[in-house]
Structure formats: structure tokens, C-alpha cells
Homo-oligomer: 503 residues x 2
Amino acid sequence: MSDEQDLGITESKEYSPGDWYAEVVQKAELASYGPEAMGGFIVVRPRGYALWESLQEHLDTWFKQTGAENASFPMFIPESYLEREKDIVEGFDPEVAWVTHGGYEELEERLAVRPTSESIIAPYMAKWVRSHRDLPLRLNQWNSVVRWEATDTKPFFRTREFLWQEGHTAHASDEEAWAETTLRLDQYQRLYEDVLGIPVLRGQKPEHDKFPGAKATTTVEALMPDGKSVQGGTSHHLGQSFAEAFDITFADEDEVERTAHTTSWGLSWRALGALIMTHSDDQGLVLPPTMAPEQVVIVPIWQEDTKEDVLQYSSEIAAELESSGVRVHLDDRDERNPGFKFNEWELKGVPVRFEIGPNEVEDEEVTVVHRPDGENTVEDRAGVLEWTAEHLDAVYDKLYDAAYENLTENVREASDRADLLGTLGQHKGYVKAPWCGDEACEGEIKDQIHAEIVMVPFEDDAVARTASEFEGERVPEPEHGPEDDCVVCGEDAATTAFFAKSY
Amino acid sequence: MSDEQDLGITESKEYSPGDWYAEVVQKAELASYGPEAMGGFIVVRPRGYALWESLQEHLDTWFKQTGAENASFPMFIPESYLEREKDIVEGFDPEVAWVTHGGYEELEERLAVRPTSESIIAPYMAKWVRSHRDLPLRLNQWNSVVRWEATDTKPFFRTREFLWQEGHTAHASDEEAWAETTLRLDQYQRLYEDVLGIPVLRGQKPEHDKFPGAKATTTVEALMPDGKSVQGGTSHHLGQSFAEAFDITFADEDEVERTAHTTSWGLSWRALGALIMTHSDDQGLVLPPTMAPEQVVIVPIWQEDTKEDVLQYSSEIAAELESSGVRVHLDDRDERNPGFKFNEWELKGVPVRFEIGPNEVEDEEVTVVHRPDGENTVEDRAGVLEWTAEHLDAVYDKLYDAAYENLTENVREASDRADLLGTLGQHKGYVKAPWCGDEACEGEIKDQIHAEIVMVPFEDDAVARTASEFEGERVPEPEHGPEDDCVVCGEDAATTAFFAKSY
Ligand SMILES: [Zn+2]
Ligand SMILES: [Zn+2]
């Protein structure tokens, strides 16, 4: 990747978003495709994995602050365990990778590579939960899972193996399980809005699209620049179905044996896909300072006679920033010229660049350039810590504001089928419309334009809504009811549905 | 696990170490056995996983400080990739779990669940390394691997799936690869000695027991209280065999195309097994303060009329410790008496206990008890931060010193076969003796007493030895040569071998 001609992005985000995305991911050295014999798998390179670690650090801290503990369950699940789950839910069969041999021997029972771990965690919960004092029980694991679905690989968005976290909890009451469900959804929303620079809409999946066996599947949805929606993370209220199937019961305070209420919640590296796709441009990757491995890159500009002074001045600034916790990199390579360095760090998404030449040294200044829009400012050397923090915040705000504008400009309404299809066809984005609740109505839209109902607003459910720190416009409320006609079939509407094309 | 009768350890460390170990692991809530259909798998519970996270934090920080970057490669490896490796090494065939089906379809090519990742990482290294400027390339991943060997599960010691880290690096010269190999071995030794409280011996595996294809396999060996050795972590100098098989070449400064030199190094959750087994006792788990999730537990002792004062005083102390970074837990449960709490926290291995009753409150004191030996002291409330740090250090030293004594007392010598067998049979531990270098001589000892050569000292190789921070007695030197007779066959000795029974 060190050849000059490899550096530039050649595809256009606007005109060929798919090729552009694949090029950014590879040229910014975030990921590579897996072996040819293994379609659907990717290799995450250090610059990509650093993003995952940054995301992990945020979420993991919040999880632990709110009572979740990490654990590790086997990567395989006996087929009979999945079957047991099948009594209540449709299985993951079509998506499962099966281990059939260990060494030279055929196994007596096939083992599934976990597609998700409910069915292996639930039996242990049943063992560990005896009394109401053992509740709530909140487990989380960071691992990878395999789902043998997609064949057309899209790094971070569509892969057969993906990294994620899966939380699994048990509670004494339905209310507590609801509170847990929305607490985790809040944390996902906070990750997107305060760390990834992406505003999201929150709500729940329609009845027919819930996690199998769940009482409710709640979701945060992010709108990509190409107008498609990404399911950014889901938190499931599982009700008592898993607890009943796996006997998760507890002796309550009144000594009556009761069945627990469980939840599960997961967020995958798809969040990184949304991050890359949302902010990046035709020069390459763009990262918010919250996520960037290097927040500031210093590019010194020297001639032979000014080199010493320029490097001295630059490294003093680098040291001052570093000691106050800024992630700064001084690019003092001899063998590359400043123009090459500008391009390389733009490609790699460093949010803020300092340019320091003999003039800056003499005037005790620094030239500061913002990655997203190239805006540049000359600042006094003296206040470097203060104004660096301000510039980093400013870049975050620019990215968030652009994504926010894209979101708010792309929620439209439709009142009949032609309107719905026309609006989705012309603008993509979200179209909110009255819906009768019948899966068949969504099916018709799916068939005609490959859009679906990505979300319906929460009912006016006190528990589901008041747990949120994110009240307001991004927690839509149902606007339609029996007085409205379903946008597809014309029957009485049951609620509001958000239609969109989706990743 | 909340029933009183479940709390105590019933097995004896001295007389039934295997049952004792299994009981400690389960009753201290570190791990459970996997599903019945899945012998060899375990579930790591939150208290066990917290230990792994603590270990990770130390090693990961050191790795990053010394140039390694984390990445993520697929969990599967195509059979043809393993075959390619087989040209130079004996494969992992007997130990591999095979995925043969994805969903309802049989795969065209079987996929191995990774037993280790050399053969999938090497082809990517070959792609990424073009010039000497791309070297050294240092990748690490934290993941789990599967080896279908053991059937008699011993949590953390012998499991078919285990968590570990695997580092993979490429270098321009043999010297640099040697330096990398010993750098990582140093870090493993540092983990054992400065964090886990376990002194280790370092050296290398005999020729016939090296990692397949490696030039050298270096190891740190820890002696367990039952006299068996644990291979605590291995660092392999792979020479050029993998680089040749997978075409990892680079254009050197003189523009000549050269083959790289590679290393790999791994440390697994077996380190947790060694930790648990080394320090724990018939009351349960014992942890060094460096690893303990709670370093100090405060148990308040009150009557109805003193409760408020005792709790007030205790929580002020807890807050003071917490704000200075001590991991402290105030056990203020109403429904348990102090004796129960003492037992529970002893079982769970908390290194230091504070007992606070009305007397302590009145005299402005704290009673401090050390977990390993029950030693107790009364301290003045005023200096709590200072003396807490001292007590934590003192407990670490007690644990390390006991393990150190066990190690130094159990390195013996033997000059002939009867002596070797007798000493190993009577004392276990290490026996160092002259050895001709022939695998057959080790084989005879293996057959007769299930002991093996766990280590031979480094040759007087400047590169291998000077990289170590740990010079001295725990880096043994070869003491034997042609002037000595092999302890087994009587032929000329080539070096010194350390024989031991081993996990
Ligand atoms: Zn309808
Ligand atoms: Zn011999």
C-alpha cells in the first residue's frame, strides 16, 4: 500500500456508492476480503480493529456501569439445544454452519457454530438462578458469530462471520425486563449519537419481523447517505418464552416459584460500516475525533536549512498534546513530501491536520485544517491545548450536523400506495405512513421496490419510553390509528410504519 | 450458589488435588462445565472472566507499547490452506474440528475451525509486505481456538476450546526475529512474576517438541504445588519456513528481494489455571491483589444499636479507598452474618479483609486480615491509604515467596537413570540432568513414569539471552556437555535437560 498510485480513491460516493465503499475500506487499510474459498468472510486489519476496540471501550464501560458482567460461553451449540429452542421459535437452521467431525471421527451429535447464544446461555441461567436474590442476572459476551446467509460480501455490513456483543439478562418482572430492554437501546443510541456522530431513530420492529420468540424487538435505525436504512443495534424483550422453554424460575420473596423474564441485545461491527459510510468522502475515510486512532496529524514542511527548527517546534507541540491525552502523530518521514502526507492522512481519515513550516515557526503559529471540509485557520501556538479541543469538537459537530440534516430532510410522508412507491423510488430515505399491521401489505411493497417496514414507533408505553435519555424528535410516536387508511390496502390503520430500503 | 451448605470446600489440596481444583473453580464461580453433549468445553462465569480481562489488560498494554497491533482473522481456515502448511509441517489434522455444512448445503471444501492461525495469516502477510519499510509487521489477536484432543476436561488447563492471544510477526532478519521471540517471552515471564505471583523458569523445548516448522520454541514453565510443570506460554522463532511456504518476501534496501523471518507467540487461559492452582487453599480461591476483582472487602460487624455508626464509618473508608483507585467492596448485606461473609469472601479469594465493629469505630481503628494466612493487624484509621497499599503488597509478596520457595526447593539433579526415575517418582518437581539430545531417551522416561523433558536451557546465544529483563537463576544455562554421560543411555551428553511431569 505504499505505492503512490495506490493512494487515491477512484470511485465516486455519489455515483457508485458500493464500489466507493469497498475502495475506502481497502485503501484506508480497514479490512481485506477473506480467502477466495471463503466468500462472506473478511480480515479486519489493525486500523479497522482499532475502531472496533474504541467502540468496545465505550460500550463495555457503560455496560459495566449498569450491572452487566462479561462471560464466555462455548462457540458451539449442540443441535439438540437449538431444537429445544425450536419448540417455541423458528430455528436458525438455514443460517447455521455445522461442525460434523472432530479430528478423524464423526461426531455423534452435530454442533452448530453459534449464530447467537440464547439457547446455550438459557440452560445455565436456569442453573444459576434459584432465588429472587439472584436476579437481575446480566451477562454479556464479546465474540464472533456465524450466519450462513449472504453471499455478496460487504465488509462490516454483510459478512458470514461478524464480531458483536450479545447481552443476555433475566429479571423478576416484566417491568424490569422492559427497563433493561430500553436501557440497552439507550446505550446503543448514545454510542451512535455521542461517539459515532450519527443520529438515529428508535422504535420497534413490526410483529412479523421480531426476533423469534420475542415479545418486542426494539431497534435504532441510522440513515445512510445513499438513502438506505441500517439497523444499528437491537434490544429484545423476550418475555417469558425462553424462560419457560429452559426452566428459568426463581423462588420469589413470598416463596412462590415464578418464571423469569429475559432480554437479549446485540450490536455488531455493522456500526463500523455505518460510521465509514456516513462520514467518508471521495478523498477517503473520514472519522470523528471520538473514534480516530490519531486525532491530530502534524505535517512539518521544511527545506534543508529550516528542517531542524521546524521539527523541533513540531515535536514540542506533539509532546504537549500527547501529555494532555490528545492522540497525535508527528509525520516526520524524510522520504515523503508534504503533499503525499496530506493525501495519505486524508485517506486514512485523521480529523485535524496541523501544517507547520518556517512561517509558522517564526510567527509562533500553527495552520489547522479540518478533514471533512478543508476549512483552515491559523492559530497562536500559545493556546494549543484549548483550541485543539475546540477544533476536535468542531469537526465532530460538522459530521454530526451533516448526518442530522440528511436524516431530518429524508423523513417524508405518504398517504396512498402510489405516493409511497413514488416517494421511496425518487428519494429513498424514510417514508412514514399509516399501516394496518398486516405483513402482506409490507410484502407488496417489498416485491415492488425492495423496501420494507424498518420500524414502527413505540406505543405510548410508559416503561418503554421513559427509560430513554433521548426523548424528542428521534423517538417518533405513532401518528396514525383507525381513523386513517392503511397506505397499501386502505383498511383501518393500526399504527404508523416507517418504510425504507435497508442494508 | 447462595445456600450455606454449598459454600465450603470439601476436598483437600494436598490429598486430592484434582478434585480440590475442580471444586474451587466451581464454588468460587469461576467456571462451569459445558453441555453434557460437549465434553471438553467450559463456560467461564463473570468472576472467572474478570480474571481473563485483567490478564488481557496487562499483556495488551505491553504488546501495544512494543509495536504489536490487534487484528481479526476469520475463525475458519480452508482445508487447502492447512494442506499448504503441511508441505513443511505435520498438520493439525487429528485435532481439528471440521465444518462441512453451511445451512442445508454441503460445502465444496471443508473448513477447519482454527487450531492456530499461522496458515491463514501468512498469506495476508505476503500481500501486505512489499518493502523493507513494511517490516517489522506485528499482528496479534485475542480469540478462541479449538483443538479436539483432550477428553478429560480440566477447566482452564485442558479444554477443547480455549481463549488465548496469538501474535504473528514478520521481520527483515534472523536477529530481529530472535529479538521479537525473546521480547514476547519476557512479557510472558513478566506477567507470571509481576502480576500472577508465580516465578517461572525459561528455556526452550527440545528439538522434537518444537512447534511444527519452527526454528526454536521458547517457553516459560511454572511449577505447580503438586509438583507438575505447566507450560505457561510459548514464543516461536519460525525461521523462514512459513515465509518460504507462503511467499512472504520484501524488497530490501539494496532492492534485492529477500524472504522474511517470522515468529508466533501465544498465551492461553491456562495461565488462569496456574494462578488458581498455585495460590488457593482448602478454604477456596486465593488471588494476588494484582488480579483480584475486589482487593479489599469490608465486613461491618454490628448490633442493632451500633449499626448506623459502624456502617457510616465503614462506608467513609470504602469511599476513600475507592477514590484513590483501590478495588473495594463493602458487604453491607443485612441477611448474612459476619461469619458467613468471612467464609464467602475467603472462598472467593479477596486478598485483604477489613473487620469493622463498634470497637474499631470508637478507637478509630481497622482490623486487617490477610487472606493467605489469616494474619491480622490493627491499624489506625488515619493512614488508611498508605497502609492499605502496604498490606496489598505484603499479600502479593507472601504469595510470590511461597511459590518461589516451592520452585527453588524442587529443582534437583540426577546422574543416572535410576536416580532420575527415583527422584521424579518421590519428589516430582524438576530434575535437571545431562541428555544426549535423542528423543528415544526421553521416550523411555515417558513410558516408565509419564515425565518428559519440559525444557532445555538456552544455548549461550547472545541474542536469545540478552533481550531478557529476567537474567539470573530463573534463566538456567546448560551445565552439561560431551564430558558428561546422558542420564538415560550413557552416551555423550549434548546439553542439560529439565525433566518433569507436566500438565
Ligand atoms: Zn394494509
Ligand atoms: Zn541418551
